[in-house]
């Protein structure tokens, strides 16, 4: 018997906490807090409830142990790895021969950088740029918006800067609930005397700690931020030197915010004018400020504009390029940043090098030794519609669950039924798997090793703590086998021959400028990790971006002017009088595939509750605990009601982990292609428990029973 303590990175949210897994003979028995590692993102080894329950999902009874092949929908037979790999490779090769754009690949923000690099390499070597991952559904506007303003789409600072700030503006982000360990730094700043401004349609746990709370209507962010900029410009509170020397486009901003007087903004957002003025003054005069946001801001048809305006707000106040200031988009999953960096995106090569740029394409053509497509590929939602039309025929889904995570889930399920071939590579059965033709059992994050990039651009190495169950294999191994079977069996960067994850990272070092100095050896030695950009092996990593200049062609920040106010695409009307918004619970994680398999978490967050204002509840005759039916133009969803003043009158808030996306709108942001999950019109009615049960049968089951038959 050998007991070991292995340092890993938490497999849940984007904070990237370190912890130790205690294992006996490769079997997990407990965890230990990483108190002894200096400078990690979770100071003193602090963990949230999900981090504490990290071992439980590894031991889930229904972990996938052998490759499966579908007989009919939802019924599978066990096959061997060689059969599975052979079939996947042959089918992919056949589609690629016909027309590579019939293929669609999904990377995953829940696995390491290495498999994400490999999945996009596989897609691109097969001749298509149709590769995307769930960042499309959470932070795509952040990438496009920040890139437009500052030249790169990543967090411009680190947690240390949040701790050092004098004012923290949190918008569309329930920080305390989504990233409890990250919220630690906000509270530490507050203890030091920093002011906290929170803007959210719900009175969240984060709002409880706010000095100024702006409760605006879902989807009215443009008006709110423009209102703040209006006051700052009118009262000349902006940083004139910074604007003169490092920004362009200020005059347009002045003209664009002209009409957003506090009085006008009050009408649109429902926030009192005095509060807007007070917030603007507090924010602009603090000296050092951080803006943080998340899905409440981005999941809109105008998500990109929202982010651009926040960048503008930070820039005109001079809150860029120095310590204690910056823009901090908070990523939801532990490797969203990494999956984006590795280019599991349809428009860029690793390191955000555009596929349309002939020079960059030439580099990768030489590097991988194949001809590459210069045409921008499909995003997740676009792929669903292309599949509906028969243009996309095969999906390769790695660690994703589109049936629950994508907006307008009913349409997604309809699409998946139409596909000719679908491969799902995951650790447990998901509702998406019911539509799969081949299921490949993957090792969970703690059962294999690799590098991860957290929300503050910190790249860390996670070691293998336990053995994978049955024949489950690491993601990089599966992809490299598929690649070899397709015929990319050369050694070096032109093929898929790898010995371990470190090999893949060395290849990433060679082709990604930001990761050039982040070698596996350095990461394994330095548990606290390195912040990219790290251009060479002796570079210490970069904590604050844009100290001298921005990454835009001119080196200056392009301030964004958004003169037109746009609300949600779908506004309440007579038929659908309420505004629906979605949110999340602290103990649940994304599509709940992992958290619902953990007793401690399931016990505490057993079911979703729809939040409704007392006045609305009285009108509809609803009490806390009653079953209600929420209906939108796309679907119906049964849920229990919770009467609370946390939401505004006319707003219904539903947690989305349990599949509430059958309701949400898939209207897209034109630039970032993110669906508007956070606001749409809905109707609410009281129903009996029996009706609720009936409705529930029509929804995809969160934990499906995958039937394995003989023969």
């Amino acid at each position: 018997m050998s007991e070991r303590l292995v340092p890993v990175v938490c497999p849940y949210c984007g904070v990237g906490c370190r912890l130790y897994i205690r294992s006996v003979d490769g079997y997990p028995v407990g965890i230990e807090y990483a108190k002894d590692i200096p400078n990690i993102s979770n100071e003193l080894g602090k963990l949230c409830p999900k981090g504490n329950a990290v071992v439980e999902y590894l031991l889930a009874k229904d972990r996938l142990k052998r490759p499966l092949k579908a007989k009919e929908q939802g019924k599978f037979v066990e096959i061997s790895w060689s059969e599975a790999i052979k079939e996947v490779a042959e089918r992919l090769k056949a589609y690629a021969k016909d027309d590579p754009n019939q293929l669609m690949f999904f990377g995953s923000a829940r696995t390491f950088n290495e498999p994400n690099y490999l999945v996009q390499k596989l897609a691109r070597m097969l001749g298509t740029n149709n590769v995307d991952h769930c960042a499309r559904l959470c932070h795509a506007p952040t990438v496009t918006g920040l890139k437009a303003v500052f030249g790169a789409g990543a967090m411009t600072n680190t947690y240390k800067d949040i701790e050092e700030a004098n004012v923290i503006f949190i918008i569309g982000h329930n920080y305390a609930e989504t990233h409890p360990v990250g919220f630690r730094y906000v509270l530490k700043a507050k203890e030091r005397g920093a002011k906290v401004i929170v803007a959210d349609p719900r009175f969240t746990r984060t709002a409880w700690f706010a000095d100024i709370f702006l409760q605006h209507y879902p989807g009215s962010d443009i008006a709110l931020i423009n209102g703040l900029i209006h006051v700052i410009i009118k009262e000349r509170l902006y940083d004139e030197k910074f604007v003169r020397e490092r920004c362009v486009g200020f005059d347009e901003v002045v003209a664009a915010v002209e009409k957003f007087t506090p009085e006008f903004v009050e009408k649109v957002t429902g926030v009192p004018a005095e509060l807007i003025i007070e917030a603007a003054r507090t924010f602009a005069t603090a000296g050092k400020g951080v803006i943080t946001w998340a899905m409440g801001l981005t999941q809109h048809t105008h998500g990109t504009e929202n982010v651009k305006l926040l960048g503008t707000l930070a820039a005109i106040c001079g809150y860029q390029g120095k310590e204690g200031a910056g823009c901090s988009p908070m990523r939801g999953q532990n490797n969203v940043q990494g999956a984006c960096d590795m280019a599991a995106l349809p428009n860029v090569f690793p390191g955000y090098q555009a596929v349309t740029d002939p020079e960059k394409r030439k580099f990768f053509e030489e590097f991988w030794g194949v001809e590459l497509s210069g045409e921008v590929g499909l995003t997740t939602v676009e792929a669903a519609y292309a599949a509906d039309k028969g243009k996309v025929k095969a999906y390769y889904v790695m660690g994703e669950n589109p049936v629950i995570s994508e907006a307008n889930a009913n349409h997604v399920m309809h699409t998946l039924e139409k596909l000719e071939f679908m491969v799902v590579q995951d650790i447990v059965p998901t509702p998406t798997m019911e539509y799969a033709d081949i299921v490949l059992p993957a090792a969970a994050m703690l059962e294999n090793e690799g590098s991860l990039t957290n929300t503050e651009r910190r790249v860390q190495w996670s070691f293998q703590a336990v053995k994978p169950p049955g024949e489950a294999r690491p993601d990089w191994w599966i992809l490299s086998e598929v690649g070899k079977a397709i015929g990319f069996d050369k050694t070096g960067s032109g093929g898929f021959v790898y010995n371990d994850a470190a090999d893949v990272l060395r290849e990433i070092n060679a082709c990604t400028p930001q990761y050039r100095g982040i070698t596996p050896e350095r990461l394994k030695e330095n548990l606290a990790g390195l912040h990219w950009p790290c251009p060479s092996e002796d570079h210490p990593g970069t904590r604050v971006l844009y100290k001298e200049k921005f990454l835009t062609p001119s080196g200056k920040a392009n301030l964004a002017a958004v003169p037109e106010y746009k609300g949600p695409v779908e506004m309440p009307d007579e038929e659908y009088p309420f505004l629906l918004t979605t949110h999340r619970y602290v103990g649940m994680y994304h599509t709940a595939t992992m958290t619902m398999r953990s007793c401690a978490l399931k016990k505490r967050w057993p079911e979703p509750l729809a939040e409704i204002h007392p006045d609305d509840a009285v009108k509809l005759g609803i009490k806390s605990g009653d079953w209600v039916k929420v209906v939108t133009r796309r679907g119906a969803y049964p849920i229990k009601a919770k009467v609370t003043r946390a939401v505004k009158k006319g707003v219904i808030a539903v947690p989305w982990h349990w599949g509430a996306n059958v309701l949400t709108n898939d209207a897209l942001d034109p630039v970032a292609k993110i669906p508007e999950t956070k606001a749409c019109a809905c109707n609410v009615a009281k129903i009996t428990e029996e009706e609720a049960r009936k409705l529930m049968e029509k929804l995809p089951p969160l934990i499906p029973k995958i039937e394995v038959v003989r023969g």
Binding site: C48, F183, V586, A600, R604, T644, A646
Partner: protein
């Protein structure tokens, strides 16, 4: 005697329940700390206070409840008869009946972790430092120090009033 216990700063609690999950993991599926929401969105954790004059220890008919060398009130399971007396006299309603073994269970300030020189799991994990393990006098002293520091800081940054000529 300097006795240590877990103190709770409810103004920092974000109701994430990390303490509950950590306690449950350390005590084979039973959590001896609970988080309560007491006003919309405001919450606090409640656990055993390990009272100076502990009613549970006083009433226990079999002496199953005792103090260890750090002053924590522990339960000797082999002596417990599950009479529920301790649960009734405790002003916080802390000791609970373990329904399977029919004996009581309560917070032991993670005796197994303290033996290794570690903090109780709930304190170790609390992301916002709402839980503090320490001696009452020390904590009060620290709070006073912090208050004084803040006041001095405030005085420094306040408008400088010329003291001469007052």
């Amino acid at each position: 005697m300097a006795r240590k216990t877990v103190f709770i700063d409810f103004s920092k609690c974000i109701e994430c329940r990390a303490c509950e999950v950590a306690c449950e993991r350390e005590h084979s599926g039973m959590s001896f700390i609970s988080v309560f929401e007491w006003q919309e969105m405001a919450a606090m954790a409640l656990n055993c206070r390990h009272c100076e004059k502990a009613p549970c220890v006083e009433v226990c008919p079999t002496n199953a409840l005792y103090r260890d060398k750090d002053g924590a009130v522990l339960l000797a399971p082999q002596k417990c008869i599950g009479c529920l007396m301790c649960g009734i006299v405790c002003p916080f309603g802390i000791p609970e009946l373990d329904l399977i073994n029919k004996i009581m269970g309560k917070c032991d300030l993670c005796a197994h972790r303290r033996a290794e020189g570690k903090l109780p799991a709930c304190v170790e994990t609390c992301p916002t430092d709402a839980l503090i393990y320490g001696d009452f006098n020390e904590i009060v002293k620290k709070r006073r120090e912090k208050f004084t520091e803040k006041t001095i800081e405030l005085a420094k940054t306040a408008e400088r009033i010329p003291l001469t000529g007052v």
